[in-house]
């Protein structure tokens, strides 16, 4: 039934519509971010779990030099092993019609035209390669799309030094390559890196692996731990050149996806919490103000017999309507954004399909959370209204009490004009509200900052990597180490100006009970093309004796300079040697252990070998050099710095605009909510005062100074505090994002700081303009006729 109080409620909601909408939008922002993150977290988790289950994704991955196939039987007998799938993997260089850059590819075998036991393929198009046709391949979807390959197309490949024409018969996805990353790269490169599946016999023949395997997948049962199985497996494979088993958690594709899911979880909690807190504060202020102006109304209602509860319920309904409006807007926005983000994820993650999951329970939970925040925010003001004795409520609230505060005494050196004095007193009369307004502005600034600083950081990271660390034009990775004398042959090529060799060896580093699998790199000294850098991005020289560790790795091993590190080499003679730690250095990407090339080769008991060659080439000769490198036997992969950088900035630019827009929008919603409400309430509270001043001969501009001066003070305090707060939040985020893959550096450019301030200022100007319009239209006569 529509009671008089309901009518009052609707009319007042309409009267306050600007403020109601501003608060509802803040709530909506929180709800939308939460829902968007939760929907995607849940959808991606579910999609991945189902994909893994349907395609028998392995728990353990191991690569080795070569083992006869009967060894697979021994692996199957390891306690805890449920299923074993042995296979042949290899590397190839590809050539696609109309694309001149070198392309590297990983080849994976499938048994006799059938699905493998583990890591089964999802067939997007066409069929699996047939055992009777050795040239048939299935291609990973990312590569097929990048080159517009269809079943029936032909690509040329060099496998193990031999040219071969391959016919694409199918386009597939694999749970092993949800995130398709070239090994050793920072970013996906769908054009220059592909994964191909071939019939086992055909691949084994091409790789000289008949009757043998060099990769094995294992599924572990529930009764045993993965770590135990890996221990066993490593022992079995040691004599076959095993480089150590990887758990699923360390598998590259799985790892990247897990990191993203972790970020979604943070988003689902931290951002909404900020939004809801701001909404709580706004409800408190707006409903508090409404009740202050309606003391006489409350008195009359009580005099006529409305109970305390009826009064409380009336104002509570107001808060709840705002909350529900926010909830509805936020839910719609959240679902829409959730879909958008889901589609964006699907561009990076190669799932057969996204199971978009929306659970009704979330809405119930979100409703409860939102209503609780709204209740908490408005309760103090409502409680005061309900407990007001009618006779007291009948009297006007009386002139507001002001004091000369400490701040003003501190400012007494300055000669303040009366309007400036009014600003200072107004702000210090309600320090709590002023403080919260400042915090609100600060949070808005911080949210934009946190959203956008990641781009600064990633840019710095990439700049560090490509401008400081890797100064070569091309990095050539060899299948097997060669004598460094081979480099002299390369330098004779007219297109190559300079060559530098490196050696990298898979190792396990051991200190006490801590172990870490990584690569030990032998670097020439002095190096000219690729360096190890410190935290200032300056190259550090590799000490003559001992090993240099990334600090993240040293921490992980709990080891310091001067300590002795045990190095278990995972290839060749599998030596175990003791090396002193010469020092540590800060790197942003990856973790590494570095020695001088000669020192490394001495430790390995080998001659002057290198397995990676870095080149500086003549830009004019670029294409022929690429062509010759592609044809060169023993070359596993060719990475061109230029293309890596280009593809990175392409990716960055695409996502940058979307994310910057989105973050700025979120910040603007908060900023507008806080500032608009602050100004409107200030105008309502001071309207009479300001009109009196207009009567006394103050101009609109002078009176505006009082109203907007308050706003300027709040902004001048709020924005710098927001910058500090943003730095703090970013620092916490950076710490939580530290992984073995990268350590995001904390850096913020002036542009990012300026952008956050600009968004807040634009919101402030919009609010200020609305207030200004009302100020100019103040009815001077009406104000003087009424009692406060």
């Amino acid at each position: 039934m529509m009671t008089a109080l309901h009518t009052k409620l609707y009319r007042e909601l309409w009267q306050l519509r600007g403020q109601v909408l501003a608060i509802a939008l803040v709530i909506a922002g929180g709800v939308a971010v939460c829902l968007m993150s939760v929907v995607n977290y849940s959808s991606l988790t579910l999609t991945r779990a189902q994909y893994y289950a349907e395609n028998q994704f392995a728990d353990v991955f191991a690569t080795l030099k070569r083992a006869p196939r009967h060894v697979a039987q021994r692996i199957a007998e390891i306690p805890g092993v449920l299923r074993v799938s042995d296979r042949v993997v290899g590397a190839a260089k590809l050539q696609v019609e109309g694309f001149s850059d070198p392309i590297s590819a990983q080849l994976v075998s499938i048994p006799q035209g059938r699905q493998p036991l583990l890591n089964q393929l999802y067939l997007r198009q066409g069929r699996l390669p047939d055992a009777r046709h050795s040239s048939e391949v299935a291609v990973v979807g990312s590569f097929a799309e990048a080159h517009d390959l269809q079943p029936g197309d032909t690509i040329r490949a060099i496998i193990n030094g031999r040219w071969q024409a391959l016919r694409v018969v199918g386009i597939v996805e694999s749970p092993e390559f949800i995130f398709v990353m070239p090994p050793g790269s920072l970013l996906p490169d769908y054009q220059r890196y592909g994964v191909l599946w071939m019939d086992r016999d055909a691949l084994a023949a091409a790789m000289d692996m008949e009757g043998a395997f060099n990769s094995v997948l294992v599924q572990v049962d529930r009764e045993h731990t993965v770590a135990d199985v890996i221990d066993h497996l490593d022992r079995v494979l040691a004599r076959y050149g095993g480089t150590g088993g990887l758990a699923r958690e360390d598998q590259v594709s799985h790892r990247y996806l897990s990191d993203d899911l972790e970020q979604l979880r943070t988003m689902a909690t931290v951002f909404p919490l900020i939004f809801m807190s701001v909404a709580m504060f706004l409800l408190n202020v707006v409903i508090g103000r409404l009740i202050a102006t309606q003391r006489d109304v409350i008195a009359v209602l009580k005099a006529y017999g409305y109970g305390n509860w009826a009064i409380a319920r009336h104002y509570l309904q107001l808060a709840m309507v705002i909350a529900v409006l926010g909830l509805v807007l936020g839910s719609m926005g959240g679902l829409w954004l959730g879909r958008g983000l889901g589609e964006m994820y699907m561009e990076y993650y190669r799932f057969p399909r996204l199971l978009f999951q929306v659970h009704p329970g979330w809405f119930i939970l979100l409703t409860l959370i939102t209503l609780s925040f709204a209740f908490l925010g408005s309760w103090r003001a409502i409680h005061q209204a309900a407990s007001l004795p009618p006779a007291e409520a009948m009297r006007p609230e009386g002139p507001a009490r002001f004091r000369i505060t400490l701040i003003e005494r501190l400012l007494s050196g300055l000669r303040l004009s009366q309007p400036s004095r009014m600003i200072v007193r107004q702000l210090s009369r309600r320090p709590g509200r002023t403080g919260l307004s400042v915090v609100g502005v600060a949070l808005a600034t911080a949210i934009i900052l946190v959203g956008n600083f990641q781009f600064d950081s990633v840019s710095l990271m990439v700049h560090a990597q490509f401008a400081r660390v890797q100064q070569q034009d091309v990095a050539v990775t060899l299948t097997d180490p060669v004598n460094s004398a081979a480099m002299f042959g390369l330098v004779r090529d007219p297109g190559i100006r300079y060559a530098e060799g490196r050696r990298s060896v898979p190792v396990e580093l051991i200190h006490g009970h801590r172990r870490w699998r990584t690569v030990l790199s032998g670097m020439p000294e002095p190096a000219h093309l690729q360096f190890v850098i410190d935290e200032n991005l300056e190259p550090v020289s590799i000490p003559e004796a001992g090993v240099l560790l990334t600090d993240y790795l040293a921490e992980g091993l709990d080891i310091r300079a001067g300590d002795t590190l045990t190095v278990q080499v995972l290839e060749g003679e599998r030596r175990r040697v003791e090396v002193p730690v010469a020092g540590t250095t800060s790197e942003l990407l990856g973790v590494g252990a570095y020695m001088r090339l000669e020192a490394l080769n001495r430790v390995l008991g080998e001659g002057p070998l290198v397995n990676q060659i870095l080149l500086n080439i003549d830009p004019a000769e670029q294409d022929p050099v690429y062509e010759r490198l592609r044809l060169m036997p023993g070359v596993l992969a060719v990475n061109i710095r230029e293309t890596m950088l280009d593809s990175f900035y392409d990716t960055l630019a695409k996502t940058f605009l979307t994310f910057t827009f989105f973050n700025s929008l979120l910040g603007a919603v908060i900023a507008f909510g806080v500032i608009y409400n602050t100004v409107r309430i200030s105008l309502a509270e001071k309207g009479r005062e300001l009109a009196s001043m207009r009567v006394l001969g103050y101009t609109s501009r002078e009176v505006g100074h009082i109203l907007l001066g308050e706003l300027v003070v709040i902004l001048m305090l709020g924005i710098p505090v927001g910058w500090l707060l943003g730095q703090g939040m970013a620092a916490a985020l950076v710490l939580s994002l530290q992984t073995e893959l990268y350590r995001v550096p904390l850096t913020m450019t002036t542009q990012t700081l300026a952008l956050s301030a600009a968004v807040v200022l634009v919101s402030a100007i919009a609010s200020g303009a609305i207030a200004w319009r009302r100020l100019v239209r103040l009815d001077l006569v009406a104000v003087l006729k009424t009692r406060e």
């Binding site: 009386g398 002139p399 507001a400 009490r401 002001f402 004091r403 004009s417 009366q418 309007p419 004095r421 009014m422 007193r425 107004q426 009369r429 009479r688 005062e689 009196s692 001043m693 207009r694 009567v695 006394l696 001969g697 103050y698 101009t699 609109s700 002078e702 001077l780 006569v781 003087l784 006729k785 009424t786 009692r787 406060e788």
Partner: protein
């Protein structure tokens, strides 16, 4: 004694405004002259149009038709900016509800006006004139109604206005306090020679004026000159 210089002259002044769906004829043709240094009481019942007339004289409102002139300046055709300038330079206001600024002390409330005036007196001097020297650093919330109104008078006279317009200055006060306020107005008029217009519905106040104009239904219904101004202290109601 007032001289014969005309300060305000109105001719055929009318004011019509809409209140909801009703058209209110607040003024229906007022012809009026006010002279320099005189103390005028505008007497009228509620709704007689006296506040509307005062607001138009003070530059807060504009007439629907007719002419208002202040010392040769035509207020009836002035822009908003010119009216603000006029209020700032020439007019002092005192309102029924004081309209003090709660965040400023008594002294600072007066200073709010003297800061933008051409040749003001010191705020302390103005407050001394209304007998509030002792309470200059109190905020409005710490003052009684009568004290607040005296601060408002001090504020109005501190800028040495040409005219002082008072809208029911005693309307919100008990009679004893009201008399204190009227004494302050009388003293200000006597000592500064400011043309003072007091509007009231209280006929007892009329005795303190040089001239009394009565208004009813938006028209001047009577006018007389007191042979002698009464001391406000002798008034009672």
């Amino acid at each position: 004694m007032p001289d014969n210089t005309v300060v305000f002259r109105t001719r055929g002044l009318t004011k019509t405004y809409r209140q909801g769906d009703v058209e209110v004829h607040a003024l229906r043709g007022v012809d009026l002259e006010l002279y320099d240094e005189e103390m005028v009481v505008l007497l009228g019942a509620s709704g007689s149009g006296k506040s509307t007339l005062l607001n138009i004289l003070g530059g807060l409102d504009v007439a629907s038709s007719g002419e208002v002139e202040y010392r040769g300046l035509t207020l009836s055709r002035a822009s908003d900016r010119e009216l603000t300038r006029y209020r700032r330079d020439f007019v002092g206001f005192v309102f029924q509800f004081y309209n003090l600024i709660p965040s400023l002390t008594a002294r600072e409330n007066v200073a709010a006006v003297t800061e933008i005036a051409q040749a003001p007196m010191a705020p302390e001097e103005a407050l001394a004139l209304v007998g509030l020297s002792e309470r200059m650093d109190h905020f409005p919330a710490q003052l009684s109604g009568g004290e607040q109104q005296r601060v408002a008078i001090a504020r109005a006279i501190a800028k040495r206005p040409q005219v002082l317009l008072c809208d029911e200055p005693t309307g919100a006060l008990d009679s004893a306090t009201g008399i204190l306020v009227l004494e302050a107005l009388e003293k200000a008029n006597r000592e500064t020679g400011t043309t003072t217009v007091i509007i009231t519905h209280n006929a007892a106040i009329a005795a303190m004026a040089d001239r009394v104009i009565t208004l009813s239904d938006g028209m001047i219904s009577g006018e007389y000159r007191n042979p002698e101004r009464q001391d406000p202290a002798s008034l009672s109601w």
